[in-house]
């Protein structure tokens, strides 16, 4: 099995003395769906930002992260960013162009897709996420579910092999969540989903990693992790309702 992501003993500290990551090591195989859970401040978002090289700034020292074997260092920046598609928490930060078309086209254009091909590419991606003919729309007038999908279209347009999602269901209404889940299931990429939404993790991810205070404190099959009430409570989490009434091992 190909290793998609390898993280070796990653440390990271923000400038204000806050140690966000303290020795994180993680290996993710191609095609896996991994849920990343933990209390606020655990370092989940920080970890995701390391996957495509946005952090640390300056890339000093030996690389601790490898994407398909390629070290995440500045010189590999463009390549890494093609392979890793990152969905940010707030769609308003991610959709930064004045029209949907320009935003979805942004990635491909930056990566060198010729302009004449971009138009069709954008149309295809928007159809994929269920937003046909949205090209000329202004992002501000979209619902949060639609914004989410524009973000996804924008990321997918770059054809990443790994999808890293930061709180994808935040702010979505139940319909939006349903649509997102359906869509996520249809995408074959390796997925890492950082979220508080444990129902989502239970439904989408076969493997779950628990983080707390910048460290990985548990890593294993989702059902096992989420059913471990003591573990969950110890790290500011709770066993999700979806599991409260099911006993996978009977009894």
């Amino acid at each position: 099995m190909t290793t998609a992501v390898e993280i070796r003993d990653l440390h990271f500290q923000y400038t204000d003395d806050h140690r966000a990551l303290q020795g994180v090591s993680l290996t993710i195989a191609e095609g896996e769906n991994v849920g990343l859970i933990g209390p606020n401040g655990a370092g989940k978002s920080t970890l995701l930002l390391h996957l495509n090289g946005i952090l640390p700034e300056g890339f000093k020292g030996r690389p601790s992260i490898f994407i398909y074997g390629i070290p995440v260092v500045k010189s590999n920046g463009p390549r890494i960013r093609r392979d890793v598609g990152l969905l940010f928490q707030d769609p308003d930060d991610q959709i930064f162009c004045p029209t949907v078309y320009e935003d979805v086209a942004f990635g491909p254009l930056q990566f060198g897709v010729p302009e004449k091909d971009v138009k069709d590419l954008v149309r295809r991606e928007l159809m994929e996420v269920g937003l046909p003919d949205f090209e000329k729309r202004s992002p501000h007038h979209l619902s949060s579910g639609e914004k989410q999908r524009v973000c996804l279209a924008g990321i997918l347009a770059c054809r990443p092999r790994i999808l890293a999602l930061d709180e994808p269901t935040r702010g979505l209404d139940p319909r939006g969540k349903r649509q997102l889940k359906t869509w996520l299931r249809s995408v074959p990429s390796t997925k890492i989903i950082a979220t508080h939404d444990l129902e989502l993790v239970a439904e989408m991810c076969e493997r779950t990693v628990v983080m707390d205070e910048g460290r990985i404190v548990a890593d294993g099959p989702t059902l096992k992790i989420l059913s471990d009430e003591d573990l969950m409570l110890a790290h500011g989490l709770e066993k999700p309702h979806i599991l409260k009434h099911s006993h996978p091992h009977g009894g």
């Binding site: 162009c97 004045p98 000329k136 501000h140």
Partner: protein, 206 residues
Amino acid sequence: MRHDFLDRYSRIESPIHRLPAALKMGIALGAVLIVVLPPITALYPFLVTAGVLLVVIAVSRIPVGFMVRRILIFEPFIVVVAGLALLQPGGALKFGTIVVKSTLSLLTIVVLSNTTPFTELLNVFRRLHAPPVFLTMMALMCRYVFVLVDELQRMKRARLSRTFDHKKKKARSWRSLSMMIGQLFLRSTERAERIFAAMSARGWKS
């Protein structure tokens, strides 16, 4: 605040709206030039421009009332400053000239901005090789003006919910308005950081 207060009618359907942005921009600039440069005594440029504008407005389906309101915002300023010209020998002619010229130019640009989405104007600027920094800044500005307006709205409502003293003292309201502006700046800088991360994530080469 209305989210489309900037160019409300720029996306409606009409033969004028369908014309290419570069053409509209070129014609608008040409119109401004022929209105501003010749002396008022050469009547034709003004009459022709006014005529063309009226036809364009009619065909473009932009409501006349809207047009009038947009012009009225600036007319007082025009009249007052042009009024300075009155205090000169021969000032009346000058006054009239200025008012006609600036009103026609104003109308031209209002028509342009309401028949062409600003993003298309940005495209024209791009093709004219405007500095990329400017283009990115203008696109970001158009994108985030509404977001900031919403944030300001939320701050105002939050403040109102905690205000029980309705004898609004001017000094205090200046202070609290300034604090909101300060807050808005802070949020804007923080958002700019996140946007930078999002742009980098999608391969932005500055």
